[in-house]
Amino acid sequence: MVTEVRTEDAVVRLDGVRKEYGETVALDGVSLEIRAGEAVAVMGPSGCGKSTLLNMIAGLDRPSAGRIVVHGENVGELSEKGLALYRRRRIGMIFQFFNLVDDLSALDNVALAAQLTGTPARQARRRALELFAELGIADRRNAYPAVLSGGERQRVAVARALMNRPALLLADEPTGALDSRAGEQVMDLLIDLNQIGQTLVIVTHDEQLAQRCASRLVLLADGRVTGGHTLEPSA
């Protein structure tokens, strides 16, 4: 059963969103609302459109039809520059394969997100160090991605996503490339973030991750929302 959400509380609102890649329909009229502070897990089989949905919300791709409104901004109507600024201010994104810049240290990778907004380097690094301390990787701040473990890399990626205090944290298979222990650590991290009010959308195959981290589950198949329900907080 899909949870009823009052429109006025919604941080994200998708209205009949459709996305086509040539003749392939990736999303077919998806409507969805996400409230502030919610942790939503999007699940479904491979190729059902999960990542496409996340990319649409993140402003990494544009819908072929329909509306996506995030914090009152119609994402589909934004210019390229507008989308960049939207991603910078509103969105934090965590990828399955971390996507860190190999040539930058962990600290510089994280500080980079703030520096793009014009924050001076020193201030950006101070904020990054706070995040490193909170995420328990302060001792790895000067290491380069090549020498970090998978879990450490994903924590660095989480720190980067949180750097500009985004309204919405989007995670695409955040534990998909990690071993079980590192995956557990990242899950705990996401739970902690949600508990302090961070709105979260997680795309995953991992039922355990969805059960532990999300308060609501959205099921997707063939580009359509086929169901969903609220989840009980795990012990």
Binding site: N55, L85, V101, L112, L116, A146, R153
Partner: protein, 769 residues
């Protein structure tokens, strides 16, 4: 084999941009290599090549026909050391008074009776009209860059026949000033015979003299009236070619280096960026040899097509270009002696693909040895970062982050960046060198020919008749000065006098009118008193004269002493210039041969010329055009510079394409965290602009050094000394503009890939993971 071909074909189709870049770069590089090699080849020995092609005579010998018969001369030439012989041809000397109808032949001319332009020695180039075949016809020796508008006019031999000009021809050996049919020469009272020899050993003057002595040893004493070897001619005629050679060599070498560097960079980069693909092929079961085959095929197809087309394009471009460069007077190269030799085409056709294969071979062999898993992970697994310390320092710099990120990028791929940098350095070197060369030549041009606008000659040729001016000398100068637009008029005389104590003839130029006719003073000062003269550097060198030395000049039994007070930048080794009182002291009856008129600002040369013709029908007018040698060098240097800058920019373009391809994931990620398209463009352009700045820092001094090395050699080729003011062209504003050349090359090359990178769809890039 089929699998290799299929995989290579698929790769070519999938990497359209890369294939296009390889094709384009090999095309432009091969084209420029063909032109560059053609230039080097043509500049290396222009006289020798043309001389060989036309079977020029090693020795032109004149014999006294009163002392030796034609049959005996023919017999004497049958010796083993004689490779080929032409003649004997009857030879007459004719005095032509200096008038408007002398067709530029004024003075004593040599006329030879010759049956045709061909033969085993000295093939004459008949470039207009035809060879004289019967009495009453004459062909004049004139270079191609003259007009043929005198064709059909009549030439009056003083106290002799009237001959119709039926053709214009040119021979490199300058064996005659004019030729007539053998049946005509008798009427010109020939006093001698001419024999043209080619000897087996023609390396030195001594060799030639010794062989000539062998040939003439059995002839009656005194029958050899005189002889001239081609070596003296080669030195005199090759002046322009010697001037061109150093600069063409410089451009040629720069062009070849840039082309090879860019091709190596493009091809090597293409293989490196395909490591992941190589890993996949290996995982599919391709053997290392097959992988090598796929990559060599993938590179070879566009490279061979580019080389083939580039060779054709190079030939098409080179032909008019070489003609443009080498067709100046006395360049020593004839129009049909130009073109790209077969060996240059072979070198380009075989050499450039070889460079491509060699450039591809290194990384291909490396990829061949790489385990499949490592090759596959080349694109996605984190690489140990490079130049990390620099990146860290840049991250803390007070620069926009897109700029500081971009500035660090070239150091992540040092080998690729080094090759690109080398190309930019050579591009900037070329631009700097060409700019300096143009500045020097412009200052030469401004100090020389352009100091007057119109030259007026006394005498005109109208409707086949000579018309003399109605005004006398002084009247004429006053008349020309009074016509609208004239600012000042200088009369010039030009007469041969003898330098006492030497056998050398001096061309003593007199100037009346108080103004300089141009010419650049290298040392000393201009003449200001009677008895003072200036002379060109070649004259001073040839006669061992220094400033302050006194010369004794003689003419018609009269002798005058003059003091050399200045050295001018002049190419004529016979020229001495004096003021009118100095000249008239030696030659009281001297008359000007021309009047040089400087016009006021904005006055049309043609309008003034019309006014002159209207004022006196007996005057002919010549309007000064731009300096052709200067124009040729500046024009060709500009064309070559643009071509090399384009090739260098293509190199940058390729590096930017490869870098953005390699960094697609990073670019996608940066956009995902909020980098705007503009910031992506700035970052990518900055990464190449850094190479541009470094390129300028290295290239500008190299260009200045090349200018310092080449320009004095060009001047030496022309036998002139350049004053410091003409070589000191490196002023701060010019250097500032040149410093931007590298950045401009880099930015132009990087802009398209940068904009393409900015338009990357993030979701697509990151999904490809």
């Amino acid at each position: 084999m089929r699998a290799v071909w299929q995989a290579a074909r698929a790769a070519v189709r999938r990497r359209r941009v890369q294939t296009l870049v390889i094709w384009l770069v090999t095309l432009v590089s091969t084209g420029s290599t063909v032109v560059a090699l053609g230039l080097v080849d043509a500049a290396s020995a222009p006289f020798d090549r043309a001389f060989e092609k036309l079977h020029g005579p090693h020795v032109v010998a004149a014999f006294d026909s009163g002392k030796v018969s034609d049959a005996r001369l023919t017999r004497a030439a049958r010796r083993p050391e004689v490779e080929a012989v032409a003649g004997p041809f009857a030879r007459a000397t004719v005095s032509v008074p200096r008038t408007a109808a002398d067709f530029g032949l004024g003075g004593e001319i040599t006329v030879v009776g010759r049956p045709g332009p061909g033969g085993p020695v000295d093939r004459v180039d008949v470039w207009a009209g035809r060879w004289p075949t019967r009495p009453g016809e004459i062909v004049l020796n004139r270079q191609r860059d003259w007009t043929a508008d005198d064709l059909g006019k009549r030439f009056q031999v003083p106290s002799g026949p009237r001959l119709t000009i039926v053709g214009f021809a040119f021979d490199l050996g300058h064996t005659a000033d004019a030729w007539v049919a053998p049946e005509q020469i008798g009427a010109l009272h020939p006093a001698g015979r001419q024999m043209l020899f080619r000897f087996r050993d023609a390396a030195t003057e001594q060799d030639l003299r010794a062989q000539l002595a062998e040939v003439t040893g059995d002839l009656p004493p005194g029958s050899l009236a005189g002889s001239q070897t081609y070596l003296a001619l080669k030195h005199r005629i090759g002046g322009n070619a010697r001037a061109y050679a150093p600069y063409l060599m410089a451009f040629g070498v720069l062009g070849i280096l840039v082309a090879v560097l860019i091709v190596a960079n493009v091809v090597g980069g293409a293989v490196v960026s395909g490591f992941r693909h190589i890993g996949i092929l290996k995982a599919l079961g391709f053997t290392p040899g097959q992988v090598l085959g796929v990559y060599l095929t993938m590179i070879s197809v566009p490279a061979v097509l580019g080389c083939g087309l580039g060779t054709v394009a190079g030939n098409l471009l080179a032909e008019p270009f070489l003609e443009f460069v080498f067709s100046g007077p006395a360049s020593g190269v004839l129009h049909d002696g130009l073109g790209i030799p077969l060996r240059v085409n072979l070198v380009a056709l075989l050499g450039m693909p070889l460079v491509c294969v060699l450039a591809a071979l290194g990384p291909s062999v490396r990829a061949r040895r790489l385990p499949a898993a490592r090759a596959i992970s080349a694109g996605s697994a984190p690489r140990a970062g490079r130049a990390l310390g620099l990146q860290r320092r840049l991250a803390g710099a007070r620069l926009p982050r897109s700029v500081s990120l971009g500035a660090g990028l070239p150091f992540a791929r040092p080998a690729r960046s080094a090759l690109t940098l080398a190309a930019v350095v050579l591009g900037v070197t070329t631009v700097t060198f060409a700019t300096g060369l143009a500045a020097t030549l412009n200052s030469i041009g401004n100090g020389g020919d352009r100091t007057y606008d119109v030259t007026v000659y006394a005498g005109a040729y109208r409707h086949g008749k000579e018309v003399r001016p109605v005004h006398g000398d002084r009247e004429l100068q006053a008349l020309l000065g009074s016509l609208p637009g004239a600012r000042h008029v200088t009369a010039r005389s030009d007469d041969e006098v003898l330098l006492v104590g030497s056998t050398n003839v001096v061309m003593f130029e007199g100037r009346r009118g108080g103004r300089s006719l141009g010419g650049v003073l290298v040392k000393g000062r201009w003449m200001s008193r009677t008895g003072e003269v200036v002379a060109g550097s070649p004259f001073l060198r040839r006669n061992g004269v220094r400033l302050g030395d006194r010369l004794r000049l003689r003419k018609d039994g009269r002798e005058e002493r003059v003091t050399v007070v200045g050295e001018t930048m002049d190419t004529d080794d016979r020229l001495v210039i004096g003021g009118w009182p100095t000249v008239t002291a030696l030659m009281p009856d001297v008359r000007p041969i021309a009047y040089h008129v400087k016009l006021g600002e904005g006055v049309e040369q043609e309008a003034y010329a019309r006014a002159v013709r209207a004022a006196d029908r007996g005057l002919s007018v010549q309007v000064s055009g731009p300096n052709t040698v200067t124009g040729t060098i500046v024009g060709s240097a500009t064309a070559l510079t643009l071509m090399l800058a384009l090739v260098a920019a293509l190199g940058v373009f390729n590096t930017a394409v490869l870098n953005t391809h390699d960094r697609r994931r990073d670019l996608g990620m940066l956009k995902s965290i909020g980098m705007t398209p503009r910031q992506v463009t700035v970052m990518t352009v900055t990464s190449m602009a850094v190479l541009g700045v470094l390129g300028s820092l290295l290239g500008v001094p190299l260009g200045i050094a090349a200018h310092r090395v080449v320009v004095p050699r060009m001047a030496a080729g022309l036998d002139i000394t350049l004053p410091d003011s003409m070589t000191a062209v490196w002023h701060p504003p010019l250097l500032a503009v040149l410093a931007l050349a590298g950045v401009a090359i880099a930015v132009v090359g990087a802009l398209v890939p940068a904009r393409r990178a900015a338009r990357l769809t993030v979701a697509e890039v990151l999904r490809n993971e």
